[in-house]
């Protein structure tokens, strides 16, 4: 690497060079001739690669459509959006799967939202420095734990716990999945909520405190409400993660394709879209109706997460103009 001798110290002295203390640049030969041609090549390839991400999204959508669209011709809509998913009997009702995914996702957010926001507030507003230094890396570790490992833990520890404490026939329930999903969504929710709390101007806090509010009143009545749009974004992103999560959900929710419509379905097995694809794709013949139907589920998942992310992203991209000093 030719840049080795550009140590941090050298670079940091750059600023002093701005002030004109040291004119010119020492120790580096002038660029050889023909350099600009090479640079042109490098810069154009960087440009092309920069645009490649758009290409990847389009490719993914194209191949999902290519393999999944035939299902809408092969199977009548009444069957496709019916309530019975028994592919071996040509019943491709995706409704229980869609509702199953929604059910588990909403339940997981109901757990993760209060926990996540409270933890984010704790980290940003209350926790002493050393606690923060312990909490942040631990939450990052949680984000890094593979979903199979969490699913494995859920199967062997959480599910038996749910079975005995709730006195239900099996611990592999929607609730078990929701708890695992909540913890998988927590790192996302916490870090986005933290950023939201961080963008609340310092003057808001100062004003509340100057009016005689306690620290807690400031947090509860001023900081959290001011950060609510960012917290909403955090929830959206957490939902996106929860809907798409596959392995952990498949391992702990019992995978029964039945309609979860009542509240006590929470403690019964449920089946999500992702688990269906993961569990059945290995057994289907390429090009069969069943194969197309699984890609059809993929299309639904893609569009759902696409919409969720667009909403979340526009909220993030939107530059908020807010008075006050930071």
């Amino acid at each position: 690497m030719g840049a080795r001798h550009l140590s941090l110290n050298w670079a940091s002295s750059l600023s002093s060079k701005i002030a004109g203390l040291v004119p010119g640049r020492k120790g580096k030969p002038p660029p050889p001739a023909g350099r600009s041609y090479v640079e042109f090549l490098i810069e154009s390839s960087i440009r092309v690669l920069g645009f490649s991400t758009i290409g990847f999204v389009l490719l993914i959508f194209f191949f999902l459509l290519r393999e999944g669209l035939p299902i809408f011709r092969e199977v009548a809509p009444a069957n496709l959006f019916g309530t019975r998913w028994y592919p071996t009997f040509d019943l491709f009702g995706t409704l229980p799967l869609i509702i199953g995914s929604a059910y588990v996702t909403v339940a997981s957010i109901a757990i993760a939202l209060p926990l996540g926001v409270a933890t984010a507030v704790f980290i940003r507003e209350v926790a002493p420095h050393w606690t923060r230094e312990v909490l942040k890396p631990l939450i990052e570790v949680l984000a890094g734990i593979p979903s199979v490992v969490l699913g494995f833990f859920g199967m062997h520890v959480l599910a038996p716990l749910v079975r005995t404490t709730m006195d239900v026939p099996t611990g592999l329930t929607a609730f078990t999945g929701a708890v695992l999903l909540a913890y998988m969504a927590l790192p996302t929710i916490i870090s986005v909520a933290e950023d939201a709390i961080d963008t609340v101007p310092r003057s808001y806090r100062d004003a509340a405190l100057a009016m005689g509010a306690t620290h807690w009143q400031t947090i509860w009545r001023v900081v959290v409400p001011a950060a609510r749009s960012g917290i909403a974004t955090a929830v959206m992103l957490g939902m996106g993660r929860a809907i798409g999560e596959t392995m952990a959900v498949m391992m702990v929710t019992g995978n029964a394709a039945r309609m979860p419509i009542s509240l006590n379905s929470l403690f019964m097995p449920v089946r999500t879209m992702t688990a269906t694809v993961a569990a059945e794709m290995g057994e289907v013949a390429n090009g069969s109706v069943h194969y197309h139907s699984l890609f059809g589920i993929g299309i639904i998942l893609f569009i759902l997460t696409f919409l969720i992310n667009i909403v979340a992203a526009t909220a993030i991209f939107k530059k908020r103009h807010r008075g006050g000093l930071r």
């Binding site: 993914i60 704790f122 593979p146 893609f302």
Partner: protein, 281 residues
């Protein structure tokens, strides 16, 4: 109620929530370390599985995951770093740039199982790669891109503007400024981003289900068109598909996977905090 009592209760509630978030993490890691340590031995990590995978070790799965991770690194780093440089240094705020950002956000949000479907549809079937290391690596690489790009873009943006203007004022071209000034300064952040992306790839199961993972394959791969066993998939298989699998083997496999991922996490954290402390701007 006295508002200071209320404050105390409020803070107690926040603390309880933080503990409720963190305590299970420690329980998961602690349990897997304690139970897994009983199974992990030199034989466990260096022998091939036999006897219906109930005996022997998980060597092929470890090697498989390492191959997939290195392959993913080779495929995703050039594209990811180039994409980052484009976004942070070249792109103006046009609708095309916004489209790229939207694409990255969406790539990051696409469910891992959908990546698996895509890999199956494009690499395995359409491009006739078959269920192979190549197909799995390319699928994982696309999944890793958004992580690499969004983390390393932050690193590039953190380099003060003065560094670029000084480079330009000394007669450096734009590329020279990036190559010799900005990139070296941002390198720790970029490396951290790459490790975080690869860590995710190493632990994923859903994208490799139909693209590369082998249920049982006691020998090592000879070409990029071979299948491999992989740790996450192996853990899934032995904990759900094989009846009568001894718990110690399951916990042992989980432990090896966890150690792999945690050590990558640790390396990323150390690099970041070390350079953050040394940084003088």
């Amino acid at each position: 109620m006295d508002r200071y009592v209320k404050q105390r209760m409020g803070f107690a509630f926040l603390t309880a929530c933080a503990i409720a978030v963190v305590a299970p993490i420690l329980v998961v890691i602690g349990l897997i370390f304690i139970e897994g340590a009983k199974a992990v031995s030199l034989e466990f990590i260096s022998a091939v599985p036999y006897g219906g995978m109930k005996e022997g070790g998980i060597f092929p799965a470890i090697v498989g995951t390492l191959i997939l991770t290195v392959g993913t690194a080779l495929a995703s780093i050039p594209v990811g770093v180039a994409g980052t440089i484009y976004l942070a240094e070249y792109a103006r705020d046009t609708w095309m740039t916004r489209a790229i950002r939207l694409a990255i956000v969406n790539l990051a949000g696409i469910p891992s199982i959908v990546y698996g479907l895509f890999g199956l549809g494009m690499f395995v079937l359409f491009l006739h790669m078959g269920t192979s290391i190549l197909a799995g690596v390319l699928t994982l690489a696309i999944m890793t891109l958004p992580v690499i790009i969004s983390t390393s873009e932050e690193a590039l943006r953190a380099v003060p503007m003065e560094f670029r203007t000084v480079s330009a004022s000394l007669g450096g071209t734009r590329w020279q400024g990036i190559r010799y000034i900005v990139l070296p300064q941002a390198m720790p952040g970029i490396i951290t981003g790459i490790i975080l992306g690869l860590l995710r790839a190493a632990g994923e199961t859903a994208p490799i289900l139909f693209t590369v993972a082998a249920f049982y394959l006691p020998q090592l791969p000879r070409s990029p068109f071979d299948q491999v066993m992989a740790l996450p998939y192996h853990l899934y298989v032995i904990s759900t598909q094989v009846p009568g699998m001894p718990m110690s083997v399951q916990y042992g496999t989980a432990l090896v996977l966890l150690i792999l991922v945690l050590s990558m996490n640790l390396i990323a954290t150390v690099i970041r905090s070390y350079f953050r402390r040394r940084r003088q701007w």
